[in-house]
C-alpha cells in the first residue's frame, strides 16, 4: 500500500463525505428537519452547473448558477412546503384562516414530505431534460507522482471541503445570526418574543443548507454522472455522517468525514471497495451504539474529563 495513495484517497473520501453531508447537517442541525430530498438538491446544483456550462458559461460561473438554482429551490420549498407560509398566505386571504402547520419540529412528517419532493424533482428533471444531459469534463488535469497520478480537481475538492466547514462553523457558532437560528429551532415562541424574526431565520437557514447542497452538486458535476437519479448516491454517506456526528453538527460532520474517510480509505486499500463500503457502514453502526452523543459528544466527554482532573 502506497502512503501517498492512501493520503489522496483519504482526502478524496473526506471531501465526499463532508460535502455530501454539510447541507443536510445545516438543515438538520439548525432546524431539526431531515431533508430526504437533500440528494435531489445536490442533483439540481449539478444540473444547473452542467446546463449553464453547456450553454457556454465558463465553469466557475456555471457553478454559481447551480448554487443559485438550488438556493432558489430551497427558498420555494421552505416557503411553500416546510413552513407552509405561502399556502397559508393564500388561504388566509381566501378562507380567513391558515390551513397547514409548519413542518418544523415534525421530524418524521418533514422526512416524508421532503422524500416526496425528491420524487417530484427526480422525475421532473427527467421530463424536462431527458434521461441524461451532456456532461462537463473535469478541469485542471492531473498531477503525477512516480507511477501514480491524481486528479488535481479532486484534490482541490478536499481543500474546498475544509473551507466550507470552516465558514459554516464561523457562521453558525460565532455569529449572532447562527445563535439566533439555533435559538429559533429550540423554542420559536420564546425566540420571537426576544426580537428574533423567526420566519426569516428559518428561511435563511434552509436556503443556506440548500445552497450548500447546490455547491456540492456544482463541485461534483464535472466528476460524476449527471442524471436525474444521481442524488441517491450522496444520501447514505450524508445521513451517516450527520447522525454519527452528533448534536454539534458542523464539528460532527468534520469528525465523521475524517473517521469515515479514513476507514473507507484504509479498508478499500487493504481489502477492496466492497470492504471499504461495509466497514464504513459498520463503523457507523458501532459509533451510533457506543457514542450516545455522537462524535461531538465524545469530544465533549474527553474535554470534560480532562478538565475534571
Amino acid at each position: 500500500m502506497n502512503p501517498l495513495n492512501l493520503l489522496f484517497q483519504f482526502a478524496d473520501n473526506f471531501a465526499f463525505v463532508v460535502l455530501s453531508a454539510v447541507g443536510l447537517a445545516v438543515i438538520f442541525g439548525m432546524m431539526g428537519v431531515i431533508n430526504l430530498g437533500h440528494g435531489e438538491f445536490i442533483m439540481i446544483g449539478a444540473y444547473g452547473t452542467t446546463l449553464a456550462s453547456n450553454a457556454g458559461a465558463p465553469l466557475p460561473v456555471a457553478m454559481i448558477s447551480g448554487i443559485v438554482l438550488a438556493a432558489i429551490l430551497g427558498f420555494v420549498v421552505e416557503r411553500v412546503v416546510v413552513s407552509g407560509a405561502a399556502i397559508n398566505w393564500v388561504s388566509e386571504r381566501a378562507l380567513g384562516k391558515s390551513v397547514v402547520e409548519p413542518l418544523y419540529g415534525r421530524l418524521l412528517d418533514s422526512m416524508v414530505a421532503t422524500w416526496a419532493i425528491g420524487l417530484v424533482l427526480t422525475q421532473g428533471m427527467r421530463i424536462l431534460f431527458g434521461n441524461s444531459i451532456a456532461q462537463v469534463a473535469t478541469p485542471l488535469g492531473n498531477v503525477a507522482y512516480g507511477a501514480f497520478s491524481y486528479s488535481t480537481y479532486r484534490i482541490l475538492l478536499a481543500a474546498v471541503a475544509v473551507l466550507v466547514l470552516g465558514a459554516m462553523y464561523v457562521v453558525f457558532t460565532r455569529t449572532e445570526f447562527g445563535i439566533r437560528a439555533r435559538a429559533t429551532i429550540q423554542d420559536a415562541d420564546t425566540a420571537r418574543s426576544l426580537g428574533v424574526d423567526t420566519d426569516r431565520m428559518y428561511t435563511t437557514t434552509f436556503v443556506i443548507g440548500s445552497a450548500l447542497a447546490g455547491l456540492t452538486g456544482a463541485l461534483y458535476a464535472p466528476t460524476l454522472t449527471v442524471v436525474p437519479g444521481m442524488g441517491s448516491s450522496f444520501l447514505v454517506e450524508a445521513f451517516v455522517a450527520v447522525v454519527i456526528g452528533g448534536p454539534s453538527v458542523l464539528l460532527g460532520t468534520t469528525l465523521s468525514g475524517g473517521l469515515l474517510g479514513a476507514i473507507d480509505a484504509a479498508f478499500t486499500n487493504l481489502f477492496g471497495t466492497f470492504a471499504g463500503q461495509i466497514a464504513m457502514l459498520v463503523a457507523a453502526v458501532v459509533a451510533i451504539r457506543l457514542l450516545s452523543g455522537g462524535l461531538t459528544g465524545l469530544v465533549e466527554d474527553v474535554r470534560n474529563r480532562m478538565e475534571g482532573e
Binding site: 474535554r303 470534560n304 474529563r305 478538565e307 475534571g308
Partner: protein, 263 residues
C-alpha cells in the same frame, strides 16, 4: 476463588459493605441511606460526598440555594443520574447500580421539578399507568378512586396537558403515590401554585405521610416546609450544610445568609 462473607445477614451488596451508620436489620428503621455520594459533571462537582438518611415514614424536607444540588441528589436516588462515587442503600440493600424502574419496583416514587405528566393522555389514562401495575382485576374503579384522592375525579377525561399547573402537579403526585411506594421524592411540588392550591398539596402530602409513606420534599417555599415537616436538611454546594428541625434552621444565621435572606 473464596470469599469470606463476614456479614451474612446483609443481602447481596455486590461486594460493597454497607456503612456502619446504616442499620439494616429488622427492628431498625432506616429506609434510605447514602454513603459518600458524589456526582461530577465534567469538572464540576454537583454532589460532594453526601451522607444522608431517611427513616421509614419520615417526612424530610430538603432546602438550599439554587444550584446546591438538590435536584441532582434526587436524580441520583431515583437513578436518573449515575453516581460518580459512593453508594445508595434502600431498605438495607444497595441500589446504586439499579435502573430507575427497578428502584421504583423497590418502592421509590418521584415527582419531577417540571411537571411531567403525559400531556397527550387524559388524566384517567395517566392514572391508569401506575394503577395497572398494582391492581390485577378491574382497573376502572381503582383509577377513579386514585383520581378522587387527588381531587381530580371531575377531570378524568381532560387531557393532562390542558390541566392547570397545579392540577398537573397533583396528578403527578397521585400517580407516584398510586404505586404504593414507601418513599416519595417531590421536587418543588408547590412552585407556581396559588396559596390555596399550596395548601391542598400540603394536605395531600401530610395525608400520605400519615399513611406511612416517607417523603423527601425539595421546596423553596419555606412556609410550606414549615407546614408539613419537622426535619429539614440544608444542602449547600453539593454537601449537607445543616440538619435539624425547621425552627432551628430558620433561625440559623448562616442559613439566612446563604439561603433565606431577610434580616
Amino acid at each position: 476463588m473464596t470469599t469470606t462473607d463476614t456479614d451474612s445477614t446483609a443481602p447481596d451488596t455486590s461486594g460493597r459493605k454497607p456503612p456502619a451508620v446504616a442499620a439494616t436489620g429488622p427492628g431498625t428503621d432506616t429506609l434510605l441511606q447514602t454513603d459518600g455520594l458524589t456526582k461530577r459533571f465534567g469538572g464540576f462537582t454537583a454532589i460532594d460526598g453526601v451522607d444522608f438518611a431517611v427513616e421509614e415514614g419520615q417526612l424530610r424536607c430538603l432546602i438550599g440555594p439554587n444550584g446546591a444540588g438538590k435536584s441532582t441528589l434526587l436524580k441520583l436516588i431515583t437513578g436518573r443520574h449515575e453516581a460518580s462515587e459512593g453508594a445508595i442503600y434502600y431498605d438495607g440493600a444497595e441500589i446504586t447500580d439499579l435502573r430507575p424502574n427497578e428502584r421504583v419496583d423497590q418502592g421509590i416514587g418521584m415527582k419531577f421539578q417540571v411537571p411531567s405528566v403525559f400531556d397527550d393522555l387524559t388524566a384517567f389514562e395517566n392514572m391508569r399507568l401506575p394503577i395497572q401495575r398494582v391492581v390485577d382485576g378491574d382497573l376502572e374503579p381503582a383509577v377513579r378512586d386514585a383520581l378522587e384522592r387527588v381531587d381530580l375525579g371531575g377531570q378524568a377525561e381532560t387531557l393532562a396537558g390542558e390541566l392547570s399547573h397545579g392540577e398537573q402537579g397533583r396528578l403527578e403526585i397521585g400517580m407516584a403515590a398510586a404505586l404504593e411506594p414507601d418513599l416519595l421524592l417531590l421536587d418543588e411540588p408547590v412552585a407556581g401554585l396559588s396559596v390555596e392550591e399550596r395548601d391542598e398539596v400540603a394536605e395531600l402530602v401530610t395525608d400520605l405521610n400519615a399513611d406511612g409513606i416517607a417523603f423527601i420534599v425539595i421546596e423553596h417555599d419555606v412556609d410550606f416546609v414549615a407546614d408539613i415537616a419537622d426535619d429539614v436538611t440544608v444542602l449547600h454546594r453539593g454537601a449537607v450544610f445543616r440538619e435539624g428541625d425547621i425552627e432551628a434552621i430558620r433561625d440559623d444565621d448562616e442559613v439566612r445568609r446563604i439561603y433565606l435572606g431577610g434580616e
